[in-house]
């Protein structure tokens, strides 16, 4: 619908400002057209308040059947483009039907908005929050304006955070024991661990630790799974001998990670895995994948 408006001259100028806009943190957001814009950052249970100004073009008036602002939380599947699923929808009527002759400003407020899901921009799915201002008209179509904002939700450090420890191997060929210090990491965390070689009968060339993101969308027969390798971090160069213990220290901050999302509104989930890969001299790969949970820790 937006592009329809774009075809004509817009009938009016919109301006949406947040009441704490100056102090609120702005974060970059990639738009569909590839541009990155800075948008305000919110978290669940916050008040979202501000002002919306509508200014008709010089010498024109806008006849309308009412003005409203909606706060929408939408999930968009890329294979089902254009179909939005709104999991949150709040609306505030701003004006009764009438005419706008000159610039008019409406305050709005959504208080303690429940926004359980974080903004997410994946391979096959997108979760976004928008403010949608609609000026309803009888003819010429309604005038609609969107304002994106980002939601991030913070978690306290988990009360239980066990290490991941496991012995794996191929009989008479390779036995290793690896250990990651936690199973739950925050986004700026460091993975500490070690790999202990119990038996090495193959000529290993190197060993990497990969961070993989598994995004699954849809359900049942329509499930799409997309796996991306976000990090490939070399842990070891050369062939270890039995008894060798190789340290792991992987800083997560350089990578573009998101928290783990489990079953977002039955539409999608995003999971993270640590994949330990050993490559031998004939380029055969031996790997073991372990899920880790990523969460967003409140900046102190």
């Amino acid at each position: 619908m937006n592009f329809l408006i774009g075809a004509f001259k817009p009938a009016c100028n919109f301006s949406i400002t947040f009441s704490d806009g100056k102090s609120r943190k702005q974060v970059p957001m990639k738009k569909e057209n590839g541009q990155t814009v800075m948008v305000p950052l919110f978290q669940s249970q916050e008040n979202i308040a501000g002002k919306i100004s509508i200014e008709p073009l010089q010498g024109k008036k806008i006849e309308h059947n009412g003005v409203k602002v909606e706060l929408l939380g939408q999930i968009e599947m890329y294979f089902d483009r254009g179909n939005f699923y709104d999991f949150t929808s709040l609306v505030r009527e701003l004006d009764v039907p009438g005419d706008i002759y000159e610039r008019k400003t409406y305050p709005f407020e959504f208080s303690t908005v429940e926004m359980p899901y974080e903004t997410y921009n994946g391979v096959n799915v997108r979760l976004r929050y928008i403010l949608k201002v609609t000026v309803s008209r009888n003819y010429g179509g309604s005038i609609v304006e969107y304002q994106d904002f980002v939601v991030r939700n913070y978690s306290p450090p988990p009360s239980i955070n066990n290490s991941i420890k496991m012995e794996v191997g191929i009989e008479d060929c390779l036995h290793i024991e690896f250990e990651y210090n936690k199973s739950k990491y925050h986004l700026k965390d460091v993975i500490i661990g070690k790999i202990y070689f119990l038996l090495v009968r193959i000529k290993i060339k190197n060993m990497d630790l990969e961070i993989r993101r598994r995004e699954s969308t849809g359900s049942g027969a329509n499930t799409h799974v997309e796996t991306e390798t976000l990090a490939k971090f070399e842990l070891m160069d050369g062939a270890p001998v039995r008894g060798e213990s190789i340290p792991i220290r992987l800083f997560l901050s350089p990578y573009e990670l998101t928290p783990t999302h489990r079953n977002i509104n039955n539409k999608f989930s995003v999971k993270y895995y640590l994949n330990l890969v050993l490559v031998d001299e004939e380029d055969r790969r031996y790997f073991k994948q372990q899920e880790i949970t990523i969460y967003r820790l409140q900046d102190s």
Binding site: N206, A231, K232, F233, E234, L235, M236, D237, G238, A239, P240, V241, E244, S245, I246, P247, R249, F251, S253, P254
Partner: protein, 789 residues
Amino acid sequence: MLNGIDDEEKWLAEGIAGIQHNAFYMHQALDSNNLREALKYSAQMLSELRTSKLSPHKYYELYMRAFDELRKLEMFFKEDSKHGVSVIDLYELVQHAGNILPRLYLLCTVGSVYIKSKEAPAKEVLKDLVEMCRGVQHPIRGLFLRSYLAQISRDKLPDIGSEYEGDADTVMDAVEFVLQNFTEMNKLWVQMQHQGPGRFREKQEKERSELRDLVGKNLHVLSQIEGVDLGIYKETVLTRVLEQVVNCKDDLAQYYLMDCIIQVFPDEYHLQTLETLLGACPQLQPTVDVKTVLSRLMDRLSNYAASSEDVLPEFLQVEAFTKLSNAIGKVIEAQVDMPAVGAITLYVSLLTFTLCVHPDRLDYVDQVLGACVKKLYNIPKLEDSRAMKQVVALLSAPLEKYNDIVTALTLSNYPRVMDHLDNGTNKVMAMVIIQSIMKNNTFISTAHKVEVLFELIKGLIKDKDGADVDELDEEDFKDEQNSVARLIHMLYNDEPEEMLKIICIVRKHTMAGGPKRLPFTVPSLVFSALRLVWRLQGQEGDIVGEEVPATPKKIFQLLTQIIEALSAVPSPELALRLYLQCAEAANGCDLELVAYEFFTQAFVLYEEEIADSKAQVTAIHLIIGTLQRMNVFGVENRDTMTHKTTGYSARLLKKPDQCRAVYACSHLFWVDDQDGIKDGERVLLCLKRALRIANAAQQMANVARGSSGPVILFVEILNKYLYFFEKGNQQITGAAIQDLIELINTEMQSDSATPDTASDAFLASTLRYIQFQKQKGGVMGEKFEAIKF
């Protein structure tokens, strides 16, 4: 293969180009204080070090290039005002690099800055670095990385007195760090041999050798840490290093590292930890050249002992000898395949050590020799010439040290070691022993020692059973036997009894020497015995009595037997001379019968054995000379002797010889002593007879050659006349002399005379002498006046 080298050059060139390229952008980033770019390009630059294609040698070249660049980067890291990032953050930032090798090089570089900033205890950073480096398990890359770590950390260890020493950082942390780096490097180094295909083993060994100093450097660093005192060295450093050495089970590493330990740490530490150090030796791989390791250790300790007197008590306190000795025993036991030369080399070193440290402990020396004998016992015959050389060294060492063979003679195992030498070497060694005695003028003064000594040099004294005689070099043999002859004179004791015993022993041994040796050894022995006789003569008064064993009589009996052996050789001329010597000695002892017997023997030899006319001439003159000095004979005996002698003289083959012998005989009747025989008549008889023979000689010459021979015989006889004339022989008159001179002149002027300048000169000076005596005046002058010519 050629291709391989070319390829390697190409890869190296590519690597260098890659480093230069990225270094260029890194410099730009550094100049513009752009940390992000600097990190990016430095990581790319370091990625060139990830290559597996280069040999250690070439890799080193590449490494050095990167190393230089990293220095610049480090300078930049240090100036946080330029890049605005705290060193702690920087330490994290560099760890974001995805590839491990660049990551760790950068981490070490920042680590260096981190320690310097003192924002964290040095030990924490060091510990972290050395731990993280485990990620590189590729031997060459790992070794160089850790070598880089060692390099940048060297001046940042929390050593005593270092600025990085603090409450939290102690010297133990420094030690711990270096030890760990060392251990890991050694593991990598050992690992190297399992890399790549086995057929390049030789090349691999070479490549490994090239890298060994990277590993050894750590030990050097350890030795440089001030805070490593004996306690720490003993409890931690040595224990841990040895543990690694033993456990790595790699011969190349074990040999090199043992040597390193010995070379880099101070002597007094070695001394105090001998047991530990030596305890490791038998645990090494059987292929390790332990003997060289131990030899080096002992050499070092020997030098240490030699450096100062003050350290000797230390050696005693730790019982260094016993420990070394035990260790060597164990090593030899453990390394069954060690060749004999190896074992003996070890003993040589131990011996050198003992001689240096415990010169007073002969029992130690003997112990070493004994151990060596035990080892040699299992080897029937030493074939290895190198082993032989070592045995010679082993045996020579005590001689050189003590400068005294007598000391060596007290070593019971010395001859037993010698038994294991082959004939040639045995002789060489015997020569060494003799030369040592000569050089130091050592007298061997007891019969027992002489016995032992002859046991040692028996290779020279007699032929070994089954020895190949043909191989003997005539010249060498002469040298050897001359040496033995000289040696006999060094066997000496002031006590006649002991001396006699010595002589008996020498006789016993030399008599077994066989015909070739006797002519060399017997004269020495005879003179040695005669010397004793002369000495007994000097103290004549004391030695009367039957009980005394060492009487001249006894000795002469012995001598008779000795010389008899010689005549059986046969070597009659020599025997004759010796008989005469003995006769003269017997004369000195007033033993008429003995002297007579000796003369008889001499005559018998003359008659029966000496056939050569030249030899006869010599012999007869000797007999005459000796007999002339004999005063022990009674008239009858003397007559028999002189009669025989003159008889022999007249029967010589050539006339001139006859003539000379006969006129020499004249002296037998005129001894110019106070109570010597003075039988002027017989003197004259002899001279006249000589003249007759001279005449006959002239005539024979005339007949045979048509010219008379030289008149020299007459001149000689003239001189005899003059002699006796001067001595007051009444039978010799001036007139007779005058006649003789005339005769000579006539002969010389005769047509058939052969001109001879020698006899002319002789005559001229004889006449001049007469003239001189005349002019002198006095009694003699008057006497000579009677001669007119």
